[in-house]
Amino acid sequence: MPAEIIDGRRIAEQIREELKERIGKLKTKGVVPGLAVVLVGEDPASLSYIRGIERVGQACGIYVEVLKLPAEIEQEELEVRIEELNQNPKFHGIILQLPLPRHLDSLSAESKISPQKDVDGTNPVNTGKLLLGEETFFPSTPYGVQELLLRSGYSPEGKRVAICGRSNIVGKPLAAILMQKKSGANATVTICHTRTKDLASVTREADIIVAAMGKAKAITADMVKEGAVVIDVGVNPMKDPETGKTKLVGDVDFEAVKEKAGAITPVPGGTGPVTSVMLMANTVRAAEQLAEI
């Protein structure tokens, strides 16, 4: 039986509707949630991601402002600008769009974002709090994966989860979220990576597989247990051999795996749409906290 397709767009819309209500409440108190996006240079992928954020922000009623800084900016100047945003009451959330030009130290810059406004959870203090199970902002991609699972009825509690990929923006924070002794988590988590000797032997035992490797079609049908839930975070441009057009594919061999899995997210239309809406959810929560709602 083919898998249930987990519709990320529909879930994103659902979350957006809930956010609108909370934003409405904030507005009656005179608060408009504000998100500042710091962009250094003009990386095309970053520009397109930011356009997406602006669209989602607008759809929810969140004020989004992009601070465009020149590619040759000095570290010190960048950090001064972040500090200004920390002080600016118009903004409840701040994100620093990566990658930064090579001469800049992204970790040092991220460390300057006020932890209360760090809605992408990239300040190392918030990373630490996340792993410790303390109150903090979850990075939006792994936060979105958790929401997708919960809202489509596949709670990770007590489940075997194989996370393929140990990046600082997806694999590691997702592991940190799902391993906590908390409702919506409580999973037994295995973190796999390029040095994992026998990846298939791990994924084949998993109830939930999260693919975040950045490698097209790396998860094949023989690596998946019958009935498993497969979440695909990968976005890889690939040329269609017939039409010659470039399209986006995930890290999972979707067509083959969907015949075996219990549920699966498509690419596009799976984790992507939920990611940007989780960023808005964090911004709304930051605004609520600052407004003490």
Binding site: N126, L131, K172
Partner: protein, 294 residues
């Protein structure tokens, strides 16, 4: 074949000798590494443990300063004492003896230690940097496990590491150390709760099995793969059925498992004796870093 016994006492002595050399080098530059500690109240376990730390400092030539505060100390006074150690240039590392009495927030106290002096590695910034793969301090137990493995010639790289413990003091920081793309790491890591369904199916896969659940004989021989490296961080008081005497045992059924494992840590005499030594090692490292920055 019987497993190799990973002797924490012997290794600990070796490492202390090495530390003495590094401490002497620092002293030649006019720096005596200093460890500051906070002890609140008079919990007998804590008092004993702090005593061990003091004695170890003396043995290797570290300066140590224990601040003793009354059981009913206010949070404000506790934080003031921490701030004083933070500012003291003679102190390079600070620990807070846990647990703190119930009216005090451990989270707040730990977060008020200056990260450069956080030799226990419990500050959220240290935890975050560790998880992100940045250089930082790791808790003593975690470094102890890594050192015991690698000094006996077992590199975690490419191994299946299964950790039965998901708490902030053991499981999470150990995962944080072993999962990184770094030397003496690069393991495939699984974190299990003692309640994980079908736990044995995980432990049986493990090349490296680490357990800390404080339940005697929790890990039995049938749960262990032939040739595994078994690291036991449990400590349980039990009565010996033949002699009637009370003794300490770990979480692993040692006698049975040692016939199957490649190597195993005993309890007592395994990871335990390494803990204070690794705290000293972190303090020496802190002093080296702080002095090179000047």
């Amino acid at each position: 074949m019987t497993a190799k016994i990973l002797d924490g006492r012997k290794l600990s002595r070796e490492i202390r000798e090495e530390l003495k050399g590094r401490i002497n080098e620092l002293k030649e530059k006019g720096i005596t590494p200093g460890l500051g500690g906070l002890l609140v109240g008079e919990d007998p376990g804590s008092v004993t443990y702090v005593g061990l730390k003091s004695k170890a400092c003396e043995e290797v030539g570290l300066r140590e300063e224990i601040v003793r505060l009354p059981e009913d100390v206010t949070e404000e006074d506790l934080l003031k004492s921490i701030a004083k150690l933070n500012q003291d240039p003679k102190i390079h590392g600070i620990f807070i003896q846990l647990p703190l009495p119930g009216h005090l927030s451990e989270e707040k106290a730990l977060a008020s230690i200056l990260p450069q002096k956080d030799v226990d590695g419990f500050h959220p910034l240290s935890v975050g940097k560790a998880w992100l793969g940045q250089p930082t301090f790791f808790p003593a137990v975690v470094v102890a496990i890594q050192e015991m493995l690698t000094r006996y010639g077992y590199d975690p790289e490419g191994k299946e590491a299964v950790i039965v413990n998901v708490d902030n003091m053991v499981g999470k920081p150990l995962a944080s150390l072993l999962v990184q793309d770094k030397d003496k790491a690069r393991a495939n890591v699984t974190l299990c709760y003692p309640t994980t369904p079908d736990l044995a199916s995980y432990t049986r896969r493990a090349d490296i099995l680490v357990v800390s659940v404080n339940k005697p004989k929790f890990i039995t021989a049938d749960m262990v793969k032939e040739g595994a490296l078994v690291m036991d961080f449990g400590s349980n008081w039990v009565e010996d059925p033949t002699t009637g005497k009370r003794k300490t045992v770990g979480d692993v059924d040692f006698e049975a498992v040692k016939e199957k494992a490649e190597a195993i840590t005993p309890v007592p005499g395994g990871i335990g004796p390494m803990l204070v030594t690794m705290l000293l090692a972190n303090t020496v490292w802190a002093a080296e870093m702080q002095s090179s920055r000047k």
